[in-house]
Symmetry: D2
Subunit: 363 residues, 4 copies
Amino acid sequence: MSSVWGKNIKLSIFGESHGRAIGVNIDGLPPGVELDFSFIKREMKRRSPGRNSINTKRQEVDQVEILSGYFNNKTTGTPLCAIIWNTDKKSKDYDLIKDIMRPSHGDYTGNIRYKGYNDYRGGGHFSGRITAPLVFAGSIAKQILAKDKIIIGSHIYSIGEMKDKGFDYIDIEKEKLVSLQESDFPVLDNDIGQRMKELILSVKKDGDSVGGVVETVILNSPSGIGSPFFDSIESTIASLLFSVPGVKGVEFGKGFQISKMKGSQGNDQMYFLGEKIQSYTNNNGGILGGISSGMPIIFRTAFKPTPSIGKEQRTINISKRKNTSLKIEGRHDPCIVPRAVPVVESVAALALLDLMMDVKKYD
Amino acid sequence: MSSVWGKNIKLSIFGESHGRAIGVNIDGLPPGVELDFSFIKREMKRRSPGRNSINTKRQEVDQVEILSGYFNNKTTGTPLCAIIWNTDKKSKDYDLIKDIMRPSHGDYTGNIRYKGYNDYRGGGHFSGRITAPLVFAGSIAKQILAKDKIIIGSHIYSIGEMKDKGFDYIDIEKEKLVSLQESDFPVLDNDIGQRMKELILSVKKDGDSVGGVVETVILNSPSGIGSPFFDSIESTIASLLFSVPGVKGVEFGKGFQISKMKGSQGNDQMYFLGEKIQSYTNNNGGILGGISSGMPIIFRTAFKPTPSIGKEQRTINISKRKNTSLKIEGRHDPCIVPRAVPVVESVAALALLDLMMDVKKYD
Amino acid sequence: MSSVWGKNIKLSIFGESHGRAIGVNIDGLPPGVELDFSFIKREMKRRSPGRNSINTKRQEVDQVEILSGYFNNKTTGTPLCAIIWNTDKKSKDYDLIKDIMRPSHGDYTGNIRYKGYNDYRGGGHFSGRITAPLVFAGSIAKQILAKDKIIIGSHIYSIGEMKDKGFDYIDIEKEKLVSLQESDFPVLDNDIGQRMKELILSVKKDGDSVGGVVETVILNSPSGIGSPFFDSIESTIASLLFSVPGVKGVEFGKGFQISKMKGSQGNDQMYFLGEKIQSYTNNNGGILGGISSGMPIIFRTAFKPTPSIGKEQRTINISKRKNTSLKIEGRHDPCIVPRAVPVVESVAALALLDLMMDVKKYD
Amino acid sequence: MSSVWGKNIKLSIFGESHGRAIGVNIDGLPPGVELDFSFIKREMKRRSPGRNSINTKRQEVDQVEILSGYFNNKTTGTPLCAIIWNTDKKSKDYDLIKDIMRPSHGDYTGNIRYKGYNDYRGGGHFSGRITAPLVFAGSIAKQILAKDKIIIGSHIYSIGEMKDKGFDYIDIEKEKLVSLQESDFPVLDNDIGQRMKELILSVKKDGDSVGGVVETVILNSPSGIGSPFFDSIESTIASLLFSVPGVKGVEFGKGFQISKMKGSQGNDQMYFLGEKIQSYTNNNGGILGGISSGMPIIFRTAFKPTPSIGKEQRTINISKRKNTSLKIEGRHDPCIVPRAVPVVESVAALALLDLMMDVKKYD
């Protein structure tokens, strides 16, 4: 079981990297929503490979075809299924690695889980490519949230050891988030961004890869969204973030840093600003008791380095039951982080929308 | 919605800190399991307050009463409901804070979410006390997993800035984990443990609190457990961990640290050790593509400092709609981390058991 | 898995007939609902045994104890758990039948399903007694629906071959439904009701039992509740009705009768009555395409005769692996139908409320 | 919410009658299952229109295209998505009825539920056409069940007032079920079958339609499948049957008839036949306490007459807010029952497989 998520919004994803098509069925969307396809296209493009010198040269178009649930330029309220055809497939590339398990990929565990029947080509259903339908779904969620002025933005918080400035936890401009969304390589400090790019190109030249962290903010979320325990905002967002290939850590607010603090430092003291309830700090990242406080919701997502590297690695041949080594040829992202940004934002949008629907009706 | 979790094992929790009783209904347990109540008692005791000078002096007994699903000293396979009566209630303590929102607690967000009807006494349903039924459920899951030699152990990885040694990611002795389970204050380095305790006592004396991190290992998990995407091991464990009050970060394997690595450093290269498949490193923490590899499953959970502190804090009176300040009197843990250890292990046991049941039938 | 139901309202039931207690955890109730306990008591009493000469003489009190989720005389919005202690237990009665499977009970199938570990006393978790918590939950749902003037009423449509008049499908008076709710033995034609009672007493004298049908109407449901396919009103109500022990058939509107009609007879033609949309007939029982039309929702539920009878029956001894025979002594309802009426209404109320919450927010 | 069903097998359906495509995403299938596409094709053909003079002349090909989850002629174990393109669309036919609500269709309730944004062409998502993906999914479930010799067969139990013989409840030949599966118009008594066809043709000539009942048997189900209460076999099968457009009644075993019996007549007395446990009768239709007894599982499903008829009907124009009348032209089944047979079998297969997976692992 792997492909169905959500309570009010139900996502059901499918597909393999080199199969016929990938896609998502989305149930529970409000009816009557007119979609902005140029926005969707931009979001899809942010995730797509081949945009610049940093990323893989695979030129997939990622053209979304809507099969259902959209009629007369509006959502119908019934399931919206959308697919993306796989066009740029070179399956022969993968014949060699049918039996040779790529280290730190899902090749080996997928082989065990599915008893050798999984589609191994390009990682099959384990491929990061399956996040494209999530970005499509997220781009719809973002549009629905935007009607309530809720906006989600991210920047590349770090690449390897190189760190961007962090978001201000209290005072975040909506315009800044919009401009980050429009950037190929969103950072708060452009000089650092430049050096991050150079770092990525340098590991690429070495046939190596590098990881990084994405920092995300959800602005203007109303207070009172989420629930204690199993449907906390943290649980809901994290369960989706950890669904994204390559994610190994998630923290909210000050996260691991708050664990080092004293209560007198970490606690977010509160006050009335006119009628509005604010906190002086936002170390809890806009979430208390699993529920939104109205302060910006802030979290960071850690991505491991792309497992596909050109350097020789020791591994196993699973059918011959023997040790071997492997150099992964071909086109691979030296760093997945820039393309992961819209994926992170998308699942956050979906998580928040799902929880919003517990307390708000969309008409 | 907040209280139901799981697919094969369904947990349904209930209760408030100062209500009549708290408890859990567990559905989907295999029939015919004889429970070791001394083990359950030990686990409950690990979580219970008042054990030593470090913790709160509330002397709750946390006696579990099983209402159903257990017959002739065996689980029946039908729902097992267990409750814990609330005995040591001093609700008058909380009358003052009915309207005064304690900073960094769920008081304010709960008030908004439940329109002021939530039970505010002692945090009500938001209380860490509701984790007691989770420990009960987890202590059953642990017993079932133990039949397959799966064992879960943890140590206090850090308190404030003070760090214990970390687990070896490859070579972990079962006996070590057992002895950690039996400790009040489980650490790998006892000297550091001593200093951690001193730190806690010192913040306590200040009327302050401190956070920390728990590191957990699941040993002997078979390979092939979990699924890609929404039912990945990471998603499933994290969704439960982020349900636990006070958790602000979760990372698997090297977590945020792996994001700083290059692929050539971070990738877990593999080899056959006889018939067994191993990896030289275990930076992915025993999980690849969301599925267990057979290596130890490792994760860390970051807890914020206990929000209840004796120092004066600025906050709001929500009915009078004005600013005020608050000094929280009474008995409160200066550090929640030692008592959180069995909670973390419990939810990990429940998450793993739920995923195990996708691929294994218990007879 | 057996005990968790619902999407917006989550029910989690537990207990065995002769165990410690039975109960239900209800999550997702709106906060701030003041419960009318005299109404709840009346509903519980309608289901309870021992009310009159017709039913079993077991004098269970069915006193509900609320453990959580209710504070200051209002629902909190967090899980409301309620239990009923089992007091009038005579477990020795059942020692004989530990191995002797009562025909048409769940004894045999429960034994197989739970590998002999199920609590066999009084049917254990299979007992009709477990419907008491459903009536409690339903009595809350009814109160919430009543605020929108939605009312649910039933009558005993038939006992054995003896049939009451049917409901008018178009024109049903709210007052009539209220008076049916207040009756021990609700029928539309009191003369027939009298003869039904005589029939029940006569089969009782014979040591036999008899089945029957309950007809139920939901009045004033707004149009637009429910969904096509898996969450149709019919699917949702039927999935709960078929959870009730003894139910073997469910039909909506004209049900099996409509299958004999021509389209020109069965179709519900429509018209505007002022601003209101009506249909001339209501053969579809207020549901089209799985969604409410605003006409009365009507369905019938068929109950088999109580399996416990005093006559000798052939059956098996499952441990001795041999044939035997059995006469079931003791107190048993000769007809379950009168006590089933509030159960049917309760699950209908819960089903409708759960679907309502897809389109309406309760504040 | 309407489109996601199941626990171990997750079905997610989508599509509209005249949209781009309809389909289903199936998650949780065991890996390594080789599909028999000629069997699937036969099943799809059984449901497809235009096979004979009785049915509509729409010549849809219903060619299934698998997009994912099938690799090297085996299921992968990851989500299997399959779509059917809509080719024979004449949307102009439906422009007239955009505002004129067809009686007894979902037009009106869908309009309310989805605020007028639903795709009205050919019933949109409410169309019986959406059952085609269910038949595809069911044809896979049937193949998996067949490995355990479980076979599902049905006959047309009645058309209008005309009744076929019923199944023997004890002694059913597998071969008979196979031959029923292969028939266009499965009946037990061919003479009656001939007269049923004549009846259908006669109502067709009148521009009218007629309903009917399907009787289904599941042979060789092992005992111990299903659970008490919410996951009873009855609840699970019924929740899917009532998802099928046109179904208004479902009964198991003797169903409504058993409600007329005395316990001494209705009870299924039991005996050992060698090592095998049997019952003398099977009035409970192979299900006791919600769980299979090993006897044949038997149920009947009542379908209403096709709502689309050529006769003039009174109805409303929903935009003009006034009364009007309607004659539905074009090609419509005078009786949906023959084509519904494989749909009923398919959802029964899916329900049983889902419940089987609670107690059996498929390798």
